[in-house]
């Protein structure tokens, strides 16, 4: 028993402390060094932060270079996949384009109204510059969904900067270096997004599920049952983490499970937009605010008036066309009525004529039969019959002499 314990202790000691010929450090030293670095990385200390930024810059660039062959294979694979779906995508896009065109006008009004309301809520103006950034590393680990972009503090990017793919929200910056930054994607488990859901104006918080989808983490007043399939989620701006009104995704209900399909495909990110903000002087004076509001109001009203004028012109045009058509149809109806009356009178005269002819024909037949059967039906001194011209005589003649 003591011998086996000795073996165990010897094995442990040699595992921790024994150095091979080429090893410069023992494993125990390196373990302590790792723990020391972990503690240091948790401490907000400027020299360490600078060293970290320096390491990040080198590692991100190296990772970008090393990833090139794999990215080439990956991109070729995705391109082939894209080509195979090309025709079906084309048909789908065509239908979608038609729908979008019709929605465009109303969205313009909503946009201007939105801008106006935003300016009413916030007492400062923000100039927004979206800068284009390239995704240099997109190793989406199953544990953390992040990407690295080639813009950093040198390009006015700071922690919390909102990141977009076209106009869709992608995530926000969580780590900034001089010429690179790390973006936490919406699909990450650690990302919480305050959203509004339309229709219904339901307030909720969604979080990534780690698999390119989102899930509802919290809904105000348990309104989860009110969420419909294909409802749209956009940022509510609560907590000022994300700007309000940015499209996030569409809801889909699969087996009573509510999931958010993000508008942007995070696996296909190549270039993204970072919203660099610079606060322009605060405008606390109500006069300036009113002036801005009135200015924005006039802009909104202008757009509305233009659209209404256009609608009036279209309506007038269609109205005059309808009046013309109406007149033409009226005259045509009159003509047809007249024709109808003429034809009716014609029919009547012809019917009379036919009746007369029929009567004549009947009389002619009677006369013909009278010539033949008058002797049979006529009343004489020696024979019983009917008086000529009576109704019975006529019937007798028509019955060919039968009484």
């Amino acid at each position: 028993m003591p011998a086996s314990r000795d073996d165990f202790i010897i094995a442990i000691r040699s595992a921790f402390l024994k150095k091979n010929v080429k090893q410069k450090f023992s494993l125990l030293t390196l373990v302590f060094l790792s723990i020391f670095i972990i503690i240091l990385s948790g401490v907000n200390f400027t020299p360490i932060k600078k060293i970290k930024v320096f390491i990040n810059e080198i590692v991100y660039r190296s990772s970008f270079i090393v990833s090139m062959p794999e990215n080439l294979i990956k991109n070729s694979y995705l391109k082939i996949k894209e080509y195979s779906n090309f025709y079906s995508d084309y048909g789908y896009n065509k239908i979608e384009l038609k729908e979008l065109k019709s929605e465009n006008i109303s969205s313009e009004i909503v946009k201007s109204e939105n801008k106006e309301l935003k300016e009413l809520i916030e007492d400062y103006t923000i100039t927004k510059d979206k800068i284009l950034a390239k995704v240099i590393v997109d190793h989406q680990s199953p544990f953390l969904k992040t990407v690295i972009i080639n813009k950093g503090t040198a390009d006015k990017i700071k922690i919390g900067t909102n990141i977009y793919d076209r106009s869709y929200l992608v995530g926000r910056v969580i780590e900034v270096n001089y010429k690179s930054s790390r973006v936490l994607l919406l699909s990450d488990l650690n990302s919480n997004i305050p959203i509004s859901i339309t229709p219904g104006n339901i307030q909720a918080i969604i979080t990534g599920n780690g698999k390119n989808l989102g899930e509802i983490k919290y809904t105000k007043d348990n309104l989860i049952e009110n969420i419909e399939d294909k409802s749209i989620a956009y940022t509510s701006g609560t907590g000022q983490i994300f700007k309000s009104g940015i499209p996030v995704g569409k809801f889909s209900i699969i087996d009573k499970k509510i999931l958010v399909n993000f508008f942007s495909d995070f696996t296909q990110l190549k270039y993204i937009f970072a919203e660099v903000e610079s606060d322009v002087q605060k405008k606390p004076d109500s006069d300036i605010k009113d002036f801005n509001n009135s200015k924005s109001l006039t802009n909104t009203e202008k757009i509305k008036l233009n659209l209404l004028n256009e609608q009036i012109v279209i309506l007038n045009d269609s109205n005059s066309k309808l009046i013309k058509k109406n007149k033409f149809l009226n005259s045509e109806t009159n003509q047809l009525n007249q024709k109808n009356l003429d034809l009716q009178s014609k029919v009547n005269t012809q019917a009379e004529k036919i009746e007369k002819i029929n009567n004549d024909n009947a009389e002619l037949d009677f006369l013909k039969l009278n010539l033949i059967y008058s002797s049979k039906c006529q009343k004489t001194i020696f024979k019983k019959g009917y008086k000529v011209g009576s109704k019975e005589y006529r019937e007798c003649i028509l019955n060919k002499g039968k009484k």
């Binding site: 790792s34 723990i35 670095i37 240091l40 990772s63 190793h139 199953p142 544990f143």
Partner: protein, 168 residues
Amino acid sequence: MINYRRNFFFNKTYAWLPIIILYISVLNEFDLNYLNIEYFSFNFPFILIFYFSLKAYSNFDYLLVFLAGLINDTVIGLPLGLSSLSYMLACIFASYLRNMTIRPHLIKDWFYFLFVISLINSITYSILFLFFSYDLDNMFYVINNLFTFLLYIPISYIFSLYLKGTNA
């Protein structure tokens, strides 16, 4: 002379190949994620580090493994030093097994490897959850663990072929 130099360069590269592959794998994270196979992921560096530590490969410098861990943390975005600690623990456990075992057996190594990666992933998860307040999906860790465990045998077979090549 040229031929000798070429051979020398080739031999050197071949001898340092595990470390080169380790650095490529931590910089590139080749885990076939883009195939979008649900839940599929595995930790290649763990297999490589455990295998070569177990075999006490002479060119497998622990300091370089430690640095590879730091690079991995930077690329993935984990707190600096966490992967280094995981890699060092993998080296320690492999080294302990090597010292304790007289007659090595692949299946025994394989199950010991499962214990080691489970323990290391638990430590990593605990540190991230308790000290850095990360939200993590347990299922990912379990499946990553499982695939790493399953892929140990085929990958160790390839590594054994490599080691045979170095001895030849």
